[in-house]
């Protein structure tokens, strides 16, 4: 082993990606919690904290570019660094979804609209569980684990369809609820997209191991 400096710095960046991942997981769960409890203060905190997620992502990008420029990594090393660049972008976007959900909490205020919170919460739990294991498989560079995760997206899609139907029914029954119900549609949409981005992370894990970039099938049947 003669590339100790490169190896050490790559491990450090991996740690940073994991840290970014846990910041994002926390942000999504807190945002959904703020919606559940109509907790506007917590929602504002999520919105404010998104900047730390963005900063962390730029720091990771910068560290990767410096490493590429100074160490000339190739083959597996280069694939790992390119994949981490991609994954940190996906994570940052998932952070934006959390911020979007928190914004909905603030916009709903204390309106009396019934929130399908059980389904929304369930979507978030599944999505975050997928994300957590996807990052584990990514760092472990385990393509078999990574390939299995996107299949769970089906359950998220089904929940999304259910929430969608509930909210549309609510709008038809009471058009005065359209404004707030469409905000909730946005929440469900964000959580559905979260699971899609987890699939992208899993694709990168396969890429590191094999060098093949392939689109993973998630048998997509979302409502809109």
């Amino acid at each position: 082993m003669t590339r100790e400096s490169l190896d050490r710095q790559m491990r450090q960046i991996e740690d940073e990606v994991l840290l970014l991942g846990s910041m994002v997981e926390q942000s999504v769960l807190t945002a959904v919690d703020s919606l559940k409890h109509r907790d506007i203060d917590t929602a504002h905190q999520v919105i404010e904290d998104d900047q730390y997620i963005n900063e962390k992502r730029y720091a990771i990008e910068n560290a990767i570019l410096i490493l590429i420029a100074t160490q000339q990594p190739i083959a597996h090393d280069l694939r790992l660094l390119a994949a981490m660049l991609e994954v940190s972008t996906e994570l940052e976007r998932i952070g934006d979804y959390a911020k979007g959900i928190a914004k909905v909490t603030t916009m709903l205020g204390d309106s009396d609209i019934p929130i399908p919170i059980r389904e929304i919460n369930h979507m978030a739990q599944i999505g975050i569980s997928m994300l957590h294991r996807a990052l584990g498989a990514f760092i472990a560079e385990n393509p078999n684990q990574a390939s299995a995760i996107p299949l769970e997206d089906d359950e998220v899609d089904q929940l999304y369809n259910k929430v969608y139907r509930m909210l549309i029914d609510m709008m038809i029954a009471d058009p005065s609820k359209i404004d707030h119900a469409s905000l909730l549609l946005w929440v469900a949409h964000n959580l559905e997209r979260l699971a899609d981005r987890v699939t992208n992370i899993c694709e990168r894990t396969v890429f590191i191991a094999t060098g093949e970039l392939l689109e993973m099938d998630t048998s997509d049947d979302e409502a809109v």
Binding site: M1, T2, R3, L6, Q72, P73, I74, A75, H76, D77, L78, R79, G211
Partner: protein, 263 residues
């Protein structure tokens, strides 16, 4: 080692067939089957002692000049074994030229360095035109056109190496072998040689031995990775498109070498 699927045709300029090369009793190169595609740049890389220069020298019978060296197997140039008894090694070296690690121009004028090989081959055309055309091909003309009759030794290292390339191509060979042609040059002169190799590959087949993996990655179309076995005999591990070798090598030994973790 199977190179059958690369590239997708059978028109190889050089093919080695179970090439073994010995220095005395020492087996220096073992069982190399390598196919060189025409008008491409093929890089041979590998750690010191893996036999890459020995294989390169086998391509124009330069090993004949080393008394203890002998080889088994065949080196086919357009299907003809260059080690057959009826083959004249001088004729082989006219068709397969060579450029060395250290620029080694003759202690003569720039003009004479280019003209010399052609003249002893009995060239009877317009020598001035040939010298100019050759120096242009070697991307050296603009720098030396006003000093053609000055000593080649007054040129910079990079210019001397381009002059050696001009000397090699003046006799219109098919193949130019390059043994670490940039190891004595600074980075700018190195990039100039690499650009020149790219231009020359439109007309000539280039085979380059290099220790500089970035150079192989930048400048070649195909890469052969050599290493040595437990008896220190050099052998070919992997051959493929350079873009594949440096992004997705198939062999673990190749990956370890190119990523700097072995060798």
């Amino acid at each position: 080692m199977n190179t059958d699927n690369l590239p997708h045709n059978n028109n190889y300029v050089i093919e080695t067939d179970r090439l073994n090369i010995y220095y005395g009793n020492f087996l220096a190169v073992k069982d190399v089957n390598l196919k060189i595609p025409p008008r491409k740049i093929t890089a041979i890389i590998g750690p010191s002692g893996c036999g890459k220069s020995t294989v390169l020298r086998a391509f124009n019978r330069m090993n004949d000049l080393i008394p203890s060296a002998r080889q088994e197997g065949r080196v086919l140039f357009h299907g003809k074994n260059i080690y057959d008894p009826d083959v004249d090694p001088v004729q082989v070296r006219r068709m397969i030229g060579m450029v060395f690690q250290k620029p080694n121009p003759f202690p003569k004028s720039i003009y004479e360095n280019v003209a010399w090989g052609v003249r002893i081959n009995g060239f009877s055309g317009n020598m001035d035109d040939l010298v100019e055309e050759t120096l242009r091909q070697a991307a050296l003309w603009d720098e030396v056109k006003d000093n053609l009759h000055k000593s080649a030794l007054a040129l910079s290292g990079g210019q001397q190496q381009r002059l050696c390339i001009a000397r090699a191509i003046a006799v219109k060979p098919e193949i130019v072998l390059m043994d670490e042609p940039c190891s004595a040059l600074d980075p700018i002169a190195t990039l100039k040689i690499e650009d020149l190799m790219r231009e020359l590959s439109a007309r000539y087949t280039i085979i380059i031995v290099t220790h500089n993996m970035q150079q192989a990655a930048r400048a070649s179309d195909f890469t052969a990775f050599f290493t040595m076995d437990e008896d220190r005999a050099g052998m070919m591990v992997e051959f493929g498109l350079t873009s594949q070798i440096f992004t997705r090598p198939k062999n673990k030994q190749t990956e370890d070498y190119i990523t700097g973790r072995f060798g």
